[in-house]
């Protein structure tokens, strides 16, 4: 169904879809690992779909910005979402579990890969998860997690804290993943 929506021009969607299911593509990660995936799952990534359509795939698709571990995760996601029998409810549940165990670093890798490969559903899911993790955390926690150094002067920071004092009452302690 999802593919139908994304591909409104295709008049003979069904025979085409059948072909896609049987054809496999090979994705190659930045560290040289190769993964086989059915075309119907791979084209859930708009970027891959474009490559396939432009016929520049030529058997192996190199993905120089995605490492093997991340690509394996992404492929798990794609396979689930291309699965025939999976109901929306099942997929939703899968999505939740898929992101819930990930550490912040992994989430960042996955969100970057999803962004690069243009996988809308995954992108949305991971963004939501990242935002969830940031809820109720201190500024210091966020800086540490995102590897950011403050460029505010202490005076500026003090001033801003004073201005919205209520936003810093009772945040969670930083001990978390």
């Amino acid at each position: 169904m999802a593919r139908k929506n994304r591909n409104p021009v295709g008049k003979n969607v069904d025979p085409e879809a059948q072909k896609k299911k049987t054809r496999t593509l090979t994705l190659k990660s930045s560290d040289g690992q190769e993964f086989s995936i059915s075309e119907s799952a791979a084209v859930l990534s708009i970027a891959i779909e474009n490559m396939v359509e432009d016929d520049c795939a030529g058997g192996v698709i190199p993905l120089p910005l995605v490492d093997g571990g991340t690509l394996a995760r992404v492929i798990t996601y794609l396979n689930k979402h291309a699965e025939d029998g999976a109901s929306d409810e099942e997929k939703r549940k899968f999505d939740e579990e898929f992101v819930s165990g990930m550490e912040m670093g992994v989430l960042f890798d996955v969100v970057l890969a999803a962004n690069y490969l243009d996988i809308r559903g995954l992108l949305r899911e991971v963004r939501r998860r990242i935002a969830d993790r940031m809820k109720n955390k201190s500024v210091e926690w966020v800086r540490k997690t995102f590897h950011i150094e403050s460029d505010f002067t202490p005076e500026e920071e003090e001033q801003m804290k004073k201005e919205f004092a209520w936003a810093w009452e009772g945040v969670d302690s930083d001990v978390d993943d």
Partner: protein, 382 residues
Amino acid sequence: KMSSQQRLREELIDRDFESLTEVEAAKLVPTRVKRLGIPRVEEGQAQEDGKGYTIVSGNEEATVDCSSYSMKKNLWRRNSRRLLKFQELQKSNSMNAHLPDDVLEMCLVRLPLRSLMNARLVCKKWRNLMTTPRFMQMRREGSFRSPWLFLFGVVKDGYCSGDIHALDVSLNQWHKIDSEALKGRFMFSVASTEDHVYIVGGRSSLTYFGRVDRSSFKTHKGVLVFNPLTKSSRKAASMNHARSSHVLGVSNVSPDCLIIRNQQNRSDRHCYRSRVSGASDVYEDLHRLSVRRQSDTKPYESVRRKNETSYSKDGKKIIIIAVGGLGSWDEPLDSGEIYDPVSNKWTEIQRLPLDFGVACSGVVCNGTFYVYSESDNLLDMT
């Protein structure tokens, strides 16, 4: 002492309140106030002269004079200086970007307000990223904002502190926002729209600043528009009449919601009222369903005409209706007026029916504005 809430007026619960039903939201106010030790909302002198408070039962010392509002909070106003800075910074400050800006932006836009404010402190780039009009637009359109509940007009030990108490519903936390603008005002009415809180009319004392004094006071026509996040307020156009303790309604006007509600809603309303007013004797005969009646269609027609002339392009906009209340000499008013934020004008509408009594409460429900009077009348205005 615990049962001193005999009058909790103006529980107009915003129709857009996302996750709570109206009834739940109304419940939230009194219980939270007690449990979390927010200063008790008291008005010690109300009983002594009894003026302006016809629903006063004999044995209670204090009344509650507060208004609670849910609203979706959002938004700082665009700041052009910041924007310029942002553009400079975007060029120079990309080294600590772990995530691309657009991805980061999409993560941050989902944060509840408090975490958002927190994230602004992380670094200048983040702050700038989160204060662009584009970001605000995304936040507004993506409905990522979570509801807040506001408590206005807290009177403690006979003085109006002007403090505003806010409950972040998503995190279940109370915050206190100091507001100089409200200091010394009492008996005002409050209505919330999408982004702002309108503080309409009310009184302030002429003798002791900030003291609730019923013998010497000034009644206001003025309207303040308060933005809770920036803590700033501005003045909107004044009403045609000075009012205090009047009934306000906020209506989202669209062509589809012009329907007159009837019987079953009235009984809903009835229960709602009786529960909130708690110990009050006046409502003991609730089940008698006495004189409630619907107004003739004239006020309805006049309001409807107004609404139709003021549609904005998208066919939906907010209007504020003010009805009744007390005038400059403590006289009950039977007039009403409608405010249109687009034209910034108050327009008078037809007066309340002569035998309607003093309007004491109102709520907008499914596009109908219900006004309830102290003499047990209910008026529908669509």
